[in-house]
Symmetry: C3
């Protein structure tokens, strides 16, 4: 076991983190499964989209830093959590509909958590700050982009809502804190908290980023 | 030449396998070229889609297991077969239309073969059973997903038809057999046969997986 | 620093090349940002699409040859140039509209340059001619394909226009010249010039590749 694996193992051993990571994975998978069901996909399609949303971002990150095979493929817990979310959506649609509020909560938490852990993993593998911030964003939003591409629509996160921008803030705080020598645990909670709060408040108060005016618009 | 390369070479030396592999590649390429032509793409677009369907799944598998550059790029036979399929579709549309039955046959065969060889290659590279099954599915269906994403539609394999699920069964048998110590050649033929039969019968008798009921449906 | 890095460094030190590379990146980013703005994406979406067009092709190439993390993520200049292009498009749409002619010029130049440097980088990493030509094309057109997939339309380069085919000619000349022992600088300028001229003339005179006749067409 080399230094990188030790660092990753210590990261993974953090039980609260593991719980939040799997809760975020579950929330992401639910969002994928619900969208797939609403497009009339069959059972297998629902499972594929659930898995793609839950693990797609992390898999692209792992390919970009050379951590192959990606964790989403090797760690049975991600697959299991995604399959449970898919089956709940298929078999218990009414229950899942009642989960909307907790799912939004964990989706916001997952966004923050994936942004932070994505940036951390890139730094643990020895890459620079730019790579870490960009891959933090990719980890957090890649799954949602994959969902929308597979369901044949323009990724909603590129159109409106504070989403990728919240991931940028979260990953940025984590990376800046690491460079400034902040306490590891403190910066992580700060980054996670700011990203989560930004996303959650934006949903509640319907904040959006401005659109770029098209050429010729009066605005 | 290390152990992995030896094992792969012995796999590749199996002449019947090589023939089936190229026949499956050809069938996949034809399905891509026909779809591209029907969407009004130009000659180059038809060639790109034919190549993407034929080699896309295997390329994603190779990136995920760190086998770079992917075999689809390095082995001239895949490119050649895909280009021949594209040109046949462009230059001899009526001939290709008459090939529908053999193409369906080889496409089903290709599905089984890609699922099995994809799982084998992942195991040869030393990865666990989960990775092997998942990458078997990816190898078999990745090209078809790429075709539909590029042609701007929801991947048909996620919507209906026993397709990815047949690949799952094929890859699962291959991996389970390897773990249970079954004879290498026997388990491969069994996995290939079951996947092919499942797919072929589902086409003939129009079997579909059930769709997930949408919330609010009466069903 | 190993041989590969030395060769890449000497490539990168070539100041004119660096200028053309960044100019091509800028032109590609503008094309992405304008398309994203016209689809009504928000500021962040415009920046993401600009970056994806500018760096997407090179990132796929780098993943395929195992050069991780991809240069688009590690080199701050690409990100900076893409962000400047995105902000210009958002903040100064009228100015960008007046840039149409220079942007078309640099886009054609970028096409040629990315095709040639993509093929070179694959050869520097020791891969064969087929890989080099294919990855030259991928580098040149991958970003445009990513733009169209994210904006939910069939990639325009697969439908009409001499675009990917010009990249094929450019990458082909570069690789053939290397195999035939031509002077490095001479073959690069020839490949770049032919690809650029082909693309630029095709835009000016509206050359297109023929479409494949659909089965049943009279043509």
């Amino acid at each position: 076991m080399n230094v990188q694996e030790l660092a990753l193992a210590s990261l993974n051993d953090h039980r609260l983190f593991t719980f939040l990571d799997l809760a975020g994975t579950f929330a992401f998978a639910i969002s994928g499964a619900v969208a797939a069901r609403n497009r009339g996909l069959d059972w297998f399609g629902v499972m594929v989209i659930a898995f793609a949303v839950a693990c797609g971002g992390g898999m692209v990150r792992d390919l970009c830093i050379g951590a192959v095979p990606p964790a989403g493929l090797t760690d049975w817990r991600y697959l299991t959590v995604a399959m449970v979310a898919a089956w709940m959506t298929i078999a218990a649609g009414r229950l899942v509909a009642r989960l909307t509020h907790p799912v939004t909560f964990f989706d916001s938490l997952g966004l923050g958590l994936f942004a932070v852990t994505g940036a951390q993993k890139a730094m643990i593998y020895g890459h620079n700050a730019e790579v870490a911030v960009l891959l933090g964003i990719v980890t957090a939003v890649g799954g949602g982009v994959a969902r929308d591409v597979l369901l044949n629509r323009v990724p909603v996160i590129l159109q409106r809502e504070i989403y990728a921008s919240a991931a940028l803030v979260g990953a940025g705080i984590e990376v800046a804190g690491e460079r400034l020598g902040w306490d590891s645990s403190g910066r992580t909670w700060l980054a996670l908290g700011v990203c989560f709060t930004l996303r959650y408040l934006s949903l509640r108060y319907k904040w959006n980023l401005p659109r770029a005016p098209r050429h010729g618009d009066n605005g």
